[in-house]
């Protein structure tokens, strides 16, 4: 796009946003190591996922948080992200956030103002997402759970819900993060859930089909 200058850092070689774009929205995809976060971002993003990092101070945090990283006053977290242009004014950013326990309070700060979150789980390693679910509930960030299909024993959805101790109103959907349509379905399931919350109709079990394939 910009061939006149070649000074580093170079102008990025990816589709620019429309000049009229003026509103950025955020959705966070959180999950344990290797659960498919980057894959999901990639399968729906308009651009190849990018990554960057943020240094977060630990000052002013509670005792629990500080004890997670004794003797440190700052830590660096790296994350990747993609984006989807929704219309001429609106762009949705998708952030892939590692869900490992001790840094979760940083993620919450970094991604404050998100529409909601997708908790990506591998049913062979459900315990990996307990902490993330706990934090999301604590901070009042709406979320759904998406079970990524890695094969393995066929646990029922009820068993997964039980293992995660999910509230009855929190949707659990199945997906294959490698498939664009499936990942798109997960995003739609989240936004439909947000709509039910916004209109106060989420008190009972979700009416949406519990699959995103």
């Amino acid at each position: 796009m910009d061939s006149a200058t070649s000074d580093p850092p170079a102008t990025p070689e990816r589709a620019p946003l429309a000049r009229t774009t003026d509103n950025g929205l955020k959705i966070v995809i959180v999950g344990g190591f290797g659960v498919g976060k980057t894959t999901m971002v990639q399968s729906v993003s308009d651009i190849r996922p990018l990554n960057t990092e943020e240094t977060m101070t630990l000052a002013g945090r509670g005792i629990d948080d500080r004890s997670a990283v004794p003797g440190k006053t700052a830590t660096t977290v790296a994350f990747d992200f993609g984006r989807i242009s929704l219309d001429e004014r609106t762009v949705l950013y998708l952030f892939g956030a590692p869900g490992q326990e001790r840094f979760w309070f940083l993620w919450d700060r970094l991604f404050s103002g998100s529409l909601g979150a997708i908790v990506l789980v591998d049913h062979r390693r459900l315990a990996d997402s307990w902490y993330a679910i706990d934090r999301l509930e604590h901070h009042g960030t709406p979320f759904i759970v998406a079970r990524n299909d890695f094969g393995g024993p066929p646990y029922t959805r009820a068993e997964v819900r039980d293992a995660l101790d999910l509230d009855p109103h929190v949707p659990l959907v199945d997906c294959d993060a490698r498939a664009r349509e499936s990942s798109k379905g997960v995003l739609i399931a989240l936004v439909e859930h947000l709509q039910r919350l916004a209109t106060g109709t989420a008190a009972t079990a979700p009416t949406a089909p519990e699959t995103a394939t």
Partner: protein, 122 residues
């Protein structure tokens, strides 16, 4: 992938921002869209010039950070300078859900409908 900022020693990052390590205020969100208002001038700090080139089309803070290979916080400090000098404008996210203590944060229905329509059209 080369990461200009990632492996740099902290001194260089410190120098880049004139010794500041935190922005004056939380002026910028990760998804604040930055737009260039005037072209780079000769002799300008190279990171400032790079930002002005990249933001000829609206570019989110987080994308800029990835492009520059600099942490988000450092990127925000550089942006504060440019904003104060009137060289960029910032389009802040219009949707910032209120956080009620212990309660769920609701997005407004119009925003959600817009997102849903956009996603279904993908």
């Amino acid at each position: 992938m080369t990461r200009a900022g990632r492996d740099d020693d902290p001194d260089r990052l410190y120098t880049l921002t004139g010794g500041r390590s935190r922005p004056a205020s939380d002026e910028f969100d990760l998804v604040t869209l930055v737009v260039t208002e005037c072209e780079p001038t000769p002799g300008m700090q190279s990171e400032h010039a790079a930002i002005l080139r990249i933001c000829r089309t609206p570019t989110a803070v987080v994308e800029l950070s990835a492009d520059l290979g600099l942490p988000v916080g450092i990127t925000k400090i550089l942006l504060s300078d440019l904003l104060a000098a009137g060289r960029i404008t910032a389009r802040h996210p219009r949707y910032a859900p209120p956080r009620t203590p212990g309660g769920v944060r609701f997005a407004d229905p119009e925003t959600l409908e817009k997102v849903l329509v956009g996603l279904r059209d993908l």
